[in-house]
């Protein structure tokens, strides 16, 4: 259908020639401001091609006059961040752990660093509040397997536990049941003995039968009174703190299998300054020993 343009009587403007149910469209020009914005965007896009990286090529891309590179900017910002953090890191490097904890400013700084690093690296096992869980020690109370002094905590974080690496905290509770070192009924008796140690009522006969077994098998690490030994990471059996559970089944299970968790070595992954801050964070949040 040929489009017949006609002049609209009322406005004096030509129509486009389209007609829909008697409605015709006026062929008014585009608003001038709209046109200018459009021309402006065309001009801008050409300027953008010239100034900014724009066109892909076979080997790379057009760099543009400004040589803008987001990647380089990120690298620059990261470098700037290192410089910015440098002052704090230097303070942590030179101060001793005690000095850090005693100085309110350094302590506050260490808390900030420690909190963020703890959240990133430690919270997975120890929990975001540091309260641990079954098999993962609670870091907020006053019970420590490997010592709760600042240096002890720093050492544990630096070297880890049972990683097999040189210097790592190492101890292994025998699996008395699984390796058939003790008979099942002896393990039952020992369980009663340990329950008794922690001040709970227990079967007196079983306790009497287990006493010599405890003396020969357990006291080397846990001590004759069951108070534990932080040198070898042997827990105190007389308090209310149980890493793998407090009930008889859990205690029996631990004597049977001798579970021992592994904590990674953080040396090499975290800088010594960060480990210092982390040690202060953990220490002060546990009330400080």
């Amino acid at each position: 259908m040929a489009l017949e343009r006609e002049t609209d009587d009322h406005t004096g403007v030509e129509t486009t020639g389209h007609e829909w149910d008697g409605i015709k469209e006026l062929d008014n020009p585009l608003p001038r401001w709209w046109l200018w914005v459009w021309y402006g965007t065309i001009a801008f896009s050409i300027a953008y091609w010239v100034a900014m990286p724009a066109w892909p090529g076979l080997h790379g891309y057009t760099k543009g006059l400004l040589h803008k590179s987001d990647r380089a900017e990120v690298a620059q910002q990261l470098a700037a961040l290192d410089v910015q953090r440098g002052a704090g890191a230097a303070m942590l490097r030179t101060a001793s752990l005690e000095q850090i904890e005693k100085d309110p400013k350094l302590q506050a700084y260490a808390q900030q660093v420690g909190q963020s690093v703890f959240g990133d690296n430690c919270a997975t096992c120890h929990g975001i509040g540091g309260t641990g869980g079954k098999g993962y020690p609670n870091l907020r109370d006053d019970v420590w397997l490997w010592g709760g002094k600042l240096e002890d905590i720093q050492y544990t974080i630096t070297h880890g536990v049972r990683t097999g690496a040189d210097g790592a905290r190492m101890s292994q509770m025998p699996a008395f049941g699984r390796d058939e070192l003790l008979k099942p009924e002896q393990i039952d008796d020992l369980t009663e003995y340990v329950v008794k140690l922690s001040g709970r009522p227990a079967d007196a006969g079983a306790v009497a039968r287990a006493a010599p077994i405890f003396a020969t098998q357990c006291s080397a690490c846990h001590g004759p009174e069951g108070k534990g030994n932080q040198q070898v990471g042997a827990p105190n059996l007389t308090d209310g703190e149980w890493l793998y559970g407090a009930d008889r089944a859990a205690i029996r299970g631990q004597i049977f299998a001798g579970n021992g968790g592994v904590m990674p070595t953080w040396q090499g992954r975290l800088s010594p300054e960060t480990i210092k801050a982390l040690a202060v964070y953990v220490h002060s949040n546990a009330g400080g020993q």
């Binding site: 009322h10 004096g12 403007v13 309110p104 975001i128 509040g129 309260t131 907020r140 949040n285 009330g287």
Partner: protein, 497 residues
Amino acid sequence: MPTLIDNTRPKTQTRTAVSAAARAKGKSQAAGGLYKPRQPIYPKLVHGKWRTIKWAMLIATLAVYYVTPWIRWHRPDGFPQQAALVDFTGRRFYFFDIQLWPQEVYIFTGVLIAAALALFLVTALFGRLWCGYACPQTVWTDLYIVVERLFEGDRNARMRLDAAPWSFDKAWRKIGKHLVWLGIAFGTGGAWIFYFHDAPTLIRTFWIGQAPATAYVSCGLLTATTYIFAGWMREQVCTYMCPWPRIQGAMLDEHSLQVTYLRDRGETRGPHKKGQSWEGRGDCIDCRQCVVVCPMGIDIRDGSQLECINCGLCVDACDEMMVKVGRPTGLIAYDTDHAVASRACGQKSVYKPVRSRTVYYAAALAVVGGLTLWSLVTRPKADLHVIRDRNPIFVRMHDGAVRDGYTLKITNRTFVDRRFQIAFDGVAGARLSQPGGEPGRVSVLVPADQVASVRVFVTAPPAADLAASVPGRFIVRADGAAAEAKTVFLSGAANPQ
């Protein structure tokens, strides 16, 4: 109220008057466009009582604006020595002996509300005094017109100059005027930034390019707005941009003093020749002096209008004419609509400043102003905020003791370092401790004008029979400053069913 009848402006065509044929030509003429082009206003210089008051206000307000940032004020070393300073970097506001923290912004809010209520009250009583005398738009426009008059002469000369073709004479006058305007605008923007930085330092660093970018941007913005608003837009700012002329309609009533043409005395108006009788006619001789001096370009004889800023220049102009023709002054005066109406019916006019509206405004002003002042005067020198550890909410020790951790934020609002002793009250036999602190002595040094954050622990003794949640409070004390805050001690006991 009559709609605007503006005799100074040529009658403009309204939209409906544009014929279809005119539109058919496809040309959007100014008359048919969306916007009415501005009719330039050439206010004539006038002398008199109100003009004198306006000059005084102009000098006073500009003096306050330019001088305030240069007032020095003694504060301890390390603190700004400037009397009025909005210190964004340090997050403080200093005003002579008052020093506010960001969290005390409510005092600002109070001051702003009180200022708004004061404006309501003044408007209800005396009309738009703010617009006519104190508003920066009025003050700077007045200043710009002074400059304009200096270069281009008074009303008639300016009209002639604008109508004349371009010449050297016209060019230098126009260029000179705009240069001085820009200078004033720059001075305005330049003075503004001194409120935000140490003025003597900034005035040096500004010129050598070492001032903060915000200083240059703010100065540029204020320069631009001053030049545009006071030089080019003038009365349009009041008429079209400012919300206040609209709001004031709610404050004004027939008892508000406003610049008023006393139509009871002025009508019937008409030209008057010397020696003619004044019998049977009004005092208005239709000389239009009230119109030509008006910076808003209106005719006050049309009654109270949105555009009128109540500056009183028409009062001065009319008084001058009345003296000349030997009639009493005050044909245009600060008067009330009610008084005019009363006199028109032959009754006595009464000015009634005490009415429910003004009483309400005054009462609200007294309450808000009083509360603001009270909170400013009684604000404590120290603040304590307690943030309870939420993960874990409590820790059980090996011996059954329970320990809760808290972070205390102690604000020292004084200009000296203070050591705050910390105490906890609420749990019998509880021990307060601090990581890295000496046993039995829990304290923290809070530097002058700073907030210190300190972690403390409260340990309830083993076997203490405590409820699940025990109310308690922390108290921090230093010489001359103390604060306390409520909190709870969570014992880990099961909640009663």
